[in-house]
């Protein structure tokens, strides 16, 4: 899933200054699961925005709504009437949700209330870890199911750099060296000979800038 982090309050409150009616838009998808963008967080941000106005002796109406998925235009119509009243929107969706909101309501500013960070998972309560950088050319089959593009700090494809210490990555944070994990996984499967194969330079155009799209004609109307 997409993992995001709440932005700190001050820039959001600053963006709301002087706006009398704003919408806080949540999403029940990934951002709700990772605890930054669901109904509870909508309530919290709305309260912060109301309180900030009150402190300045101003009046502010904070509208709130949460949809199943902001990254799906089909769900956005339920914001329409609220956005008619609102001068601006604070979206707790991921970067995709924010963009779809901005596209649907081009006359009004939409501010992201979260920083979209990575595609990952939650191996333990309160912990989220990146597992995929969506490089467009998956190598997991050769690397024992461990992703060197996202888990090696340098994204190396041909084995470890010279900096690992005690099987930990040189950049610290007590993270294992991805290549050590790959080595152990492949050794366990008796597939070490795979590590002697030189992986050619990656086709980063598939990870590319510009819009990537996936087309499935069988699913089209």
């Amino acid at each position: 899933m997409i993992v995001a982090r709440r932005k700190p309050a001050p820039p959001l409150l600053a963006a709301a200054t002087g706006r009398r009616t704003v919408l806080v838009a949540g999403c029940k998808g990934c951002v709700a699961v990772c605890g930054v963008g669901g109904e509870r967080e909508v309530r919290l941000l709305a309260a912060q925005l109301e309180l900030a106005a009150k402190r300045l002796g101003q009046k502010r109406t904070v509208l709130r709504a949460t949809v199943a998925r902001q990254c799906d235009p089909g769900f956005l119509s339920s914001f329409d009437s609220l956005m008619e009243q609102a001068e601006a929107c604070f979206s707790l969706g991921c970067g995709v949700g924010v963009q779809y909101m901005a596209e649907r309501y081009p006359a009004k500013p939409v501010f992201p209330a979260v920083d979209t960070v990575f595609a990952g998972g939650s191996p333990a309560a309160g912990l989220w870890e990146e597992r995929c950088r969506m490089c467009g050319e998956c190598v997991l089959g050769e690397t024992g199911g461990i992703c060197p593009v996202s888990r090696c700090a340098k994204g190396l494809l041909n084995g470890p750099c010279g900096g690992s210490v005690n099987e930990l990555c040189e950049i610290g944070h007590n993270q294992p060296c991805a290549w050590n994990l790959i080595y152990e996984r492949l050794a366990g499967q008796g597939r070490l000979e795979g590590l002697t194969v030189i992986t050619p330079p990656k086709d980063w155009s598939r990870a590319g800038a510009g819009v990537r799209s996936v087309v499935r004609e069988d699913l089209m109307p």
Binding site: A153, K154, E170, G172
Partner: protein, 306 residues
Amino acid sequence: MTTPSNLQRVLEQGHFAVTAEIGPPKGASGETVRRHAALLRDCTDAQNVTDNQSAVVHMCSLAAAVHVLQAGGEPVFQLTTRDRNRLALQSDLLGAASLGIRNVLCLTGDHQKFGNHPQARGVFDLDSVQLVGLARRLCEGRFLNGDEVKPPPELFVGAVENPFAGPLPLRVLRLGKKIAAGARFIQTQAVYDIELFARFMAAVREQGWDKEVSILAGVVPPKSAGALRYISKVPGMVVPDKLIRRMKGAADQAREGKRFAVELIRHLRTIKGVRGVHIMAIRWEEAVPEIVTEAGLLPRPHADKY
């Protein structure tokens, strides 16, 4: 492939090679590089210029290599993939060759997090194995995309290996990849733990790779016990406590550091498959002539200059 590299000639004629490292300055004058090159040119076979070492901005290694040339030295141009994508790497290699540079050392580079611009975006478009392959391909007359290179550069291509970053079988395997990709010489991380290094060399010999590639063992003379303690904290370095104690106990620590380097070189020469030493006297280039002299490595073989 033979190249006009003096270092290659020295190695192929079976001499025990000596290379040393020169750190480019953090400023816009090439004077110290030229001074260090002049100091080192007669007691070493080639001089490495580092490429934004430790991810700290310095004068570019290409320019520094030209200063070494101007001072009568033979540069080993260090090139990292941290700061350049495949376009920049290829154009730098062509430019280097056009200026008379004959040796290139291909590295990944320390992570930008350790440097003085930790906010930088690391490039890492290629890894060091892929860079070795790219350099070889250029010398064989092809760009990475298959287009012809006219004329191709003539470069003696090298890489690095860290025998101490563990696990050993993985290090050996990776060295094999660098050789297969086209590395002709290998300069290793600084050796302090000679037992561990000997074990690495045994594993290399077992594969027969000592015959395919020239391995130059890294030597970093410690200037003081404090400096050595600092080195021991660098990622991927192994420094025995005993050595730190020995340095601390010495009346003249700098003298003791040089003495250690001389002993180490003598020891390294006895390890089968070690074809030379690479002395990295970080900001202490002045120590190198004395170390080389005392280790009995002078005069350097006279290979014709061009």
